[in-house]
């Protein structure tokens, strides 16, 4: 990587181009030949795994955290960053995302049962004839892994990083079994450098619409039956394959099925299964059904978790909360009053994290559907306003996410030996005025520059207030 970078200096034209880009892009890797050793000195350090260290030092060596503390020795070769007035946090983790998967972005319009709660046509693109039953494996591509689909040049990677995110679980989005998630760091030239753990999760989406017409399944109950059948098939495949391999002679062989092979592998490897559930009713349903599929599962969505927190806690199931809080549609009929339960939902959704914390449910945050990454932390602020402690919010963005995704042994806190993913700010990360100054990913330094203007508004619509019917 460094080798490739050095080539840049050989060709002045490219240097000019790089400089031009640097002017356009608000942040970039500071320099190709940054040293592999850094020390951030005299900063406020929030390790998350332990108490805050005022006026402390973090030492980074070759991509890992070498030391952290009040008085730790700074190696002589380290580039020392004066941390006065700065706060150092573990890099934030977006616990379910399609950042880096540009092809996944238009999933909403392109069909396929999208992730989370959005209603999308249940038909799966690329499938010409409608599915006639579970045997056709509709919307089922568990062999797709986020790590393999990763496009390091997706410009959202940098946008996310500039907002303080150093890691994301990236996963395909289309279908009922869209694929497996990979934990990736949000910097790198190639996927191979970025991937932290892959596969990390097996993703299941239960949303879709249906009715007369279309292929199987085209109703929620059909989807549930289908997902159940796949797990039943998978369990059978594991058992039957093992039995056959022991005594193949005289026995009929087990038919090959890619889905069964991949899903049974994921189950065997104890990958958490991510199951979508947003409303309280969906949460209760998932808590009832998912244990039959796989004992290890995680709910995602969970915006009405405030009404089901105790049940989630009792089931000892961790959750990923979508931070894109429900809002009134911008193009809603101005005279149309929403129903009370919709209004209540919108009002109370941000109180979900506080309720989960109170009930003792482990939870992390994700940002699907949020176009501007600055809104991610800002939306977490709404959860804080609704009763969540700032510490708990920070933990949800860092160590809890790492724990739920099975990477807490390498990510999520500022501790020696962990990957040097850090976000350095000029104040409390949940203060709206606070700015991200420097981000470290895998020990590489990225300076975040002031933005002239916020990034392009999301593709969803005109800015608020423009619609004046």
């Amino acid at each position: 990587m460094i080798h490739r970078r050095r080539h840049a200096f050989v060709y002045p034209g490219i240097v000019v181009l790089a400089l031009a880009l640097a002017a356009l892009i608000p942040a970039q890797r500071a320099a190709a030949d940054d040293p592999p050793y850094f020390a951030i000195k005299g900063a406020r350090i929030v390790p998350v795994s332990g108490p805050v260290i005022e006026d402390g030092t973090v030492v980074i060596a070759k991509g890992l955290i070498a030391a952290v503390g009040k008085d730790v020795p700074i190696p002589p070769e380290a580039w020392v960053i004066d941390g006065k007035g700065l706060t150092v946090y573990p890099g934030l983790i977006d616990a379910l995302s399609d950042v880096g998967l540009p092809s996944a972005t238009p999933a909403q319009s392109a069909g396929g049962a999208g992730r989370g709660a959005q209603p999308t046509p249940a038909t799966v693109p690329a499938q010409q004839t409608p599915s006639r039953g579970p045997e056709d494996r509709p919307g089922t591509t568990p062999w797709l892994v986020g790590a393999d689909e990763l496009k390091p040049d997706d410009k959202r990677i940098e946008q996310w990083r500039n907002a303080g995110f150093t890691t994301a679980l990236v996963a395909p989005t289309r279908g009922f079994f869209p694929g497996q998630g990979a934990v990736v760091n949000l910097a790198g030239e190639r996927a191979s450098e970025m991937v932290v753990k892959s596969p990390a999760t097996l993703n299941v989406s239960l949303q879709g619409t249906g009715g007369f017409g279309g292929g199987f399944p085209n109703s929620l109950m059909g989807i549930l039956a289908y997902v159940h059948q796949v797990f039943v098939d998978t369990a059978w495949y594991a058992e039957a394959s093992a039995a056959y391999e022991k005594h193949p002679n005289g026995a009929n062989r087990i038919p090959y099925d890619r889905t069964e092979r991949v899903v049974s592998g994921a189950v065997r490897d104890r990958e958490p299964v991510l199951v979508s559930a947003n409303s309280a009713n969906q949460i209760y349903r998932a808590l009832r059904m998912a244990p039959q599929w796989n004992p290890r599962f995680v709910l995602y969505g969970v915006q009405e978790g405030y009404a089901a927190a105790d049940a989630i806690a009792a089931a000892k199931v961790p959750v990923l909360v979508n931070l894109r809080w429900p809002e009134r549609s911008r193009d809603a009929d101005p005279d149309q009053e929403d129903s009370l339960r919709v209004l209540r939902f919108r009002d109370r959704a941000p109180s979900t994290p506080a309720a989960l914390a109170k009930a003792g449910v482990p939870f992390a945050f994700y940002a699907e559907g949020i176009a501007n990454p600055k809104d991610i932390v800002r939306n977490a602020g709404k959860a804080i306003a609704a009763g969540l402690s700032a510490d708990a919010a920070l933990r949800a963005f860092t160590l809890s996410a790492a724990e739920i995704l099975g990477v807490a042994d390498r990510l999520g806190s500022i501790e020696p030996g962990k990957i040097a993913n850090l976000v350095i700010t000029d104040g409390d990360i949940f203060n709206e005025k606070t700015k991200v100054k420097i981000v470290f990913v895998d020990g590489q330094r990225f300076v975040v520059r002031e933005e002239e203007r916020p990034p392009q508004r999301g593709p969803q619509g005109p800015p608020m207030g423009e619609v004046q019917p």
């Binding site: 069909g111 046509p121 249940a122 038909t123 619409t209 249906g210 009715g211 007369f212 017409g213 279309g214 085209n218 193009d331 809603a332 009929d333 101005p334 005279d335 009053e337 129903s339 009370l340 339960r341 619609v467 019917p469």
Partner: protein, 429 residues
């Protein structure tokens, strides 16, 4: 057993009524009944005299004229025949079989179409509906913004000419809706329209509707003053002329409060006579309706509330609420296969607060007034057309039976396809 005896009695009398409207030149005297004229208080033990299709006398002292057929109706009650002022009767036979459905022509603006043209006088539905005590209906075309002209007809007659009360009774306008129409198909084809899109289309439709009436006004002027040689006849505009001249009411179908308000203002501005129908949210604009004197034909009382947060009994209580506010109402079936539920719709409204006599008038007199046929129909008074029913009791009650039914003074059979199948299959060994 009781039923059988009763049926035999009815059958004997109905033998008189060989076929609908076979002979109009007959006299009848129905004696001994309690008569709800709806023009005054009920009269006990009264006689109703019918001759030449009309009511000639009503009262406790009315006498059967010589030669009149006398029907002893002791213990029975007499009411004006019910009027369903918004149905599709005769236009559709079997909903799912397109070949039997003539309710909805292609096109958006089709004022020249007349429902009566497509009514099948031999429809199996007509005798079925008649047996429920409905003697005349308005049957309306559907679809588009201007659906066409509705026809008011008696439910007896060999041909439309014999049946028609008003061949052209109203111009039916489907007021555009400011609601996303139901997705229906679901699946991939479904795309929600934005409110901006909906509003644009709404405004465009309303504009177009206004343009049509404007053109009709000019057309009327040109037809009157212009030279015939320079003048091209236009069937659509010609059909709209009575509307803009205020001679033909418009039957405006609008559900939401906003749409109703817009429609009322539109009709006022256009100076056309408006009858509102399908008005699910009329309760929200009852003061306006009272103030502008707009009568309302209600959708079936037994409908689900429009909004999730509406009280569960929203549609049950609306009739009472409108009447209390001084709005004139009528009940309707809106359909062909459910027309016989008309009395049930009125009855439920009584259960939820509507005065009983108002409910009776809302299936008889009031709809007649809305379409200007109350000089002929709607009450039991001398000089009016003899459309009346002789019942075992309150016609709004579920178990009440219609014993005799007169349309245009003719004792008309209440036999129908259903009763025939019943007779046939109950005897199957």
């Amino acid at each position: 057993m009781k039923t059988t005896i009763r049926l035999l009695r009815i059958a004997a009398l109905l033998a008189l009524a060989l076929a609908p409207s076979a002979r109009a030149q007959e006299a009848y005297a129905i004696t001994g009944a309690k008569v709800y004229t709806l023009a005054g208080p009920p009269i006990e033990n009264a006689t109703v005299v019918i001759r030449d299709g009309k009511i000639v006398a009503v009262g406790a002292d009315a006498k059967a004229p010589a030669g009149a057929k006398v029907i002893d109706a002791k213990g029975l009650e007499i009411y004006p025949g019910m009027f369903d002022p918004w149905s599709e009767l005769g236009l559709a036979e079997v909903g799912a079989v397109a070949a039997t459905v003539d309710t909805t022509e292609l096109g958006e603006f089709k004022p020249q179409l007349v429902a009566g043209t497509a009514v099948n006088p031999a429809s199996a539905h007509i005798p079925v509906v008649r047996a429920s005590g409905i003697t005349h209906v308005l049957t309306a075309p559907g679809g588009g913004t201007i659906a066409g002209q509705a026809t008011i007809m008696n439910l007896a007659g060999w041909t439309m000419d014999e049946m028609a009360v008003r061949r052209s009774a109203a111009m039916v306008i489907n007021w555009p809706a400011l609601q996303p129409r139901g997705g229906g198909g679901g699946g991939a084809a479904f795309r929600a329209r934005t409110f901006t899109e909906i509003k644009q289309e709404y405004d465009k439709r309303v504009q177009e509707l206004g343009d049509w009436l404007e053109r009709a006004r000019h057309y009327a002027q040109a037809a009157e003053k212009g030279s015939a040689a320079k003048f091209d006849r236009d069937l659509k505009l010609e059909a709209l002329v009575p509307v803009v001249e205020g001679k033909l009411p418009v039957l405006v179908l609008a559900r939401g409060a906003r749409e109703i308000r817009d429609a009322v203002n539109f009709c006022e501005k256009q100076k056309v006579k408006m009858v509102l129908a399908d008005a699910t949210e009329a309760w929200k604009v009852k003061d306006l309706l009272k103030q502008k004197n707009i009568p309302v034909i209600l959708p079936p009382t037994q409908s689900l509330p429009r909004e999730e947060d509406d009280p569960y009994d929203r549609s049950f209580t609306q009739p009472a609420e409108l009447v209390a506010a001084g709005v004139k109402i009528a009940f309707s079936s809106t359909a062909y296969e459910f027309a016989r539920r008309l009395s049930q719709q009125a009855g439920v409204a009584v259960a939820y607060g509507l005065p009983h006599d108002e409910a009776l008038k809302a299936v008889t007199l009031y709809p007649a007034q809305m379409f200007g046929i109350d000089k002929e129909l709607g009450t039991i008074e001398p000089g009016k057309l003899a459309n009346l029913i002789v019942t075992t009791g309150d016609p709004l009650e579920l178990r009440t039976e219609v014993r005799y039914l007169f349309i245009k003074g003719q004792l008309t059979s209440t036999d129908n396809k259903h009763r025939q199948l019943w007779e046939e299959y109950r005897k199957r060994p």
